[in-house]
């Protein structure tokens, strides 16, 4: 059992990225991502779990033990960093073996473990090479292998894929997810890359300025962001956010955005019940905006094409509605060009409404 529990953990003094009263439970065998922009306390949190930093307040549990007084070694966790801390002058085989040698593991067992880990990570061919001759991706695999080999209770990973090129990142992402599942090791993974967090995690803890903002499954984080911070941070291209105000017009409740209005009569009551005022933000993801070359039956919102960005399997079209720019994601090719008149409609099931003052999601 390697459940990890942080209870009201606070570390504010003397470090760059403080953590404020953080409570977070990571279940046994779970893959949890700490997702946040840089400088938000992700690394601090990992270091506290690892025992490299001591919190001023709160407690840390691993399994059933309170580990506050334990040294990093006693906690039996492995930390993997962004930069690959390998011994440059010894072979990959010896790099992998070193954590076991330190523990005086018998030679035959070391050999077996090295082989096993090399196989899982597809680095069998590299065993006799030195790190200096390896590519970035290969080095990171070796670094991961060195953490895997001694089978600690918990893996703590600090942006391990950040320094790799895009293609390799996609490759290793899937591989690490598969590995983690296969090995069934509790893993806490810090990243600022929302796609990585969505793709790999069982649950994602979104942090902002050292505070936990939302802790949920990837799908929930994506479809039900708790506030404007999470909504903006998760999703590429980012959610369209249009400031607007709740008004009454001809007996209907509308969101008035200046250049257009959006009817929310059907759920206005729920909105009014939760909002602190009439100042709101309308949020809609680029994939949930429909683009039409002719006015749709229900009217739609008139817009003009601003910039067209083909992306291979899809196209991102920036359209202007008055002074507001909407990003629209259309599958396949888009034939229009800048200046063309188009109409957009927003899928009502996918519209988010936030309170402008508090930033909280209210619908």
């Amino acid at each position: 059992m390697a459940r990890v529990l942080l209870e009201n953990v606070t570390l504010e003094k003397g470090i760059l990225c403080p953590v404020h009263s953080l409570t977070l439970e990571v279940r046994d065998k779970e893959f949890v991502s700490l997702l946040a922009p840089s400088g938000s306390g992700k690394t601090t949190t990992l270091r506290i779990v690892a025992g490299l930093d001591r919190p001023e307040k709160g407690s840390v549990w691993i399994g059933d033990e309170e580990v506050g007084d334990m040294t990093p070694a006693e906690r039996d966790v492995a930390m993997i960093f962004q930069t690959y801390a390998l011994y440059p002058h010894v072979s990959v085989r010896d790099n992998l073996a070193s954590p076991l040698k330190v523990r005086k593991t018998p030679e035959t067992e070391i050999d077996r473990s090295v082989k096993e880990v090399a196989e899982v990570l597809h680095i069998e061919d590299l065993l006799d090479k030195r790190p200096v001759t390896l590519s970035g991706g290969e080095m990171q695999r070796v670094a991961i292998g060195r953490a895997l080999i001694r089978k600690p209770r918990v893996y703590l990973m600090d942006e391990p894929l950040t320094n790799l090129d895009a293609k390799l990142r996609v490759e290793l992402r899937a591989e690490m997810k598969r590995l983690q599942k296969e090995l069934g090791q509790t893993t806490i993974y810090a990243t600022h890359d929302e796609v990585e967090a969505l793709a790999m995690s069982n649950r994602i803890a979104v942090l902002n300025q050292g505070r936990l903002i939302q802790y949920d499954a990837p799908e929930a984080i994506y479809t039900h962001p708790k506030n404007t911070f999470v909504a903006r941070f998760v999703g590429t291209p980012a959610m369209n956010m249009i400031p607007c105000s709740l008004e009454e017009k001809h007996g209907r409740k509308i969101l008035q955005a200046g250049a257009f209005e959006y009817d929310i009569t059907d759920f206005a009551e729920a909105v009014q019940g939760k909002a602190t005022g009439d100042e709101l933000v309308l949020g809609v993801r680029p994939a949930h905006v429909e683009l039409h070359s002719k006015p749709p039956v229900d009217g739609g919102i008139q817009a003009s094409v601003y910039v067209v960005e083909p992306m291979g399997r899809m196209t991102i079209v920036d359209v202007k509605v008055g002074e507001n720019v909407f990003k629209v994601k259309v599958p396949h090719l888009f034939e229009g060009k800048p200046g063309d008149s188009v109409w957009i409609s927003l899928d009502p099931r996918s519209v988010h409404i936030f309170d402008r003052k508090t930033g909280e999601a209210i619908a």
Binding site: K167, Y222, A287
Partner: protein, 363 residues
């Protein structure tokens, strides 16, 4: 007229051929991206156009002139390596005026150009502010303005967005594209980021090991890659490749991939004419593979799901078919999970076939 043309340009550094008989025409007002992995010769190409390197052989034209013998300043080009930080002590106006002062232009002329540039960049309202009083997006636009304020015949940009974070990069991509269209300046943009190239360019030239691989529109490069290198380099997640042998049976042409066969009879004319050997590589983009619970076509084949990666609007399925690993991508999440069996069906009209030896596209 600022057409740029390279005729059989070769650049050698000692025994290394960095650029090998490259011929290329960039039309007047065109936005051309030179795309390739690091070390492919793309920056060397740009530096030769700028006059910072001299070709070992071949001719370079700007407009109607051969520029091989001209100094960089005589060529009237602007080379931007990256958007440098602004001078913190100077206002936005002074930052923009700086390159013009260096040219010893008259004061009122400088004023006119700065105001015009600021207008185009939507930064007129912040001209009197200092860099620390503006947003990151504005600062990037000022930096861009400073790079382009003196209006040369050709802009040469060398990975200018590389050091920005993902959000700002996406934002600047749109700005740059919009400005280039508005200014109608011939632009040559070097990048290793295929998404950047696809999103911004009118045409893309792809280079590998100093040799031109393909020059085409973004759509052309994506949907009709001329060889396996281009097919693998453009697109993320990348195209799946499967080694296969062509076999004829009962008057049908089949690609035997080992665990499954794909009927290519409908293409037998095209492939048969081109192909002498039976060793081919099938290429399929992740979005062209359909994942279902049941078999939906005679050609559907069974796979095991290794990992499911939700990435927001889309979901990536990492699967194995025998020893073959494939990636499929769907826009709608499916009720299929890691560890389960699934059926895959490839959209035949989007299938790519390459000669295994030469890498050339056969289909």
């Amino acid at each position: 007229m600022a057409r740029v043309e390279l005729k059989n340009v070769t650049k050698r550094f000692g025994s290394l051929t960095a650029v090998d008989t490259l011929s290329l025409t960039v039309e007047h007002k065109e936005f051309m991206c030179i795309l390739g992995p690091s070390g492919c010769g793309k920056t060397t190409t740009l530096r030769m156009i700028a006059g910072l390197e001299t070709p070992t052989s071949g001719l370079i034209y700007i407009g109607d002139e051969i520029v091989n013998e001209m100094t960089p300043s005589e060529r009237d080009i602007a080379m931007v390596f990256q958007f440098y930080a602004l001078y913190p002590g100077m206002t936005v106006y002074e930052n923009l005026a700086f390159p013009l002062k260096a040219q010893k232009l008259a004061k009122n002329e400088i004023g006119r150009i700065v105001r015009e540039t600021a207008e185009r960049l939507n930064i007129s309202q912040i001209l009197e502010r200092k860099p620390h009083q503006i947003t990151a997006g504005q600062a990037q636009r000022v930096a861009l303005g400073r790079a382009v304020v003196r209006k040369p015949r050709v802009y040469l940009l060398d990975e200018p967005l590389t050091n920005l974070d993902a959000r700002l990069r996406a934002y600047m991509r749109v700005e740059l594209k919009r400005l280039q269209r508005e200014w109608e300046q011939t632009t040559i943009y070097v990048t290793h980021d295929q998404l950047e190239a696809i999103a911004m360019a009118d045409r893309i030239v792809i280079i590998d090991r100093g040799v031109l691989q393909q020059c085409d529109t973004p759509e052309g490069v994506y949907s009709k890659p001329g060889n396996r290198f281009v097919a693998g380099f453009v697109g993320s997640p990348p195209m799946n490749f499967i080694d296969a042998s062509l076999v004829e049976a009962d008057g049908r042409l089949l690609a035997d991939c080992g665990p499954f066969k794909t009927d290519l009879s409908q293409f037998s004319d095209i492939i048969g004419r081109e192909q002498r050997s039976s060793e081919v590589v099938l290429g399929m983009r992740p979005e062209d593979i359909k994942v279902t619970k049941e078999s939906i076509e005679p050609d559907s084949f069974q796979a095991e799901v290794e990992a499911v990666e939700p990435i927001g609007d889309e979901t990536i399925y990492d699967v194995t078919v025998g020893e073959i690993r494939l990636r499929a991508l769907t826009a709608i999440p499916l009720d299929i999970y890691a560890g389960e069996e699934a059926w895959l069906t490839v959209d035949k009209n989007k299938l790519h076939v390459f000669d295994r030896r030469t890498g050339e596209a056969l289909l």
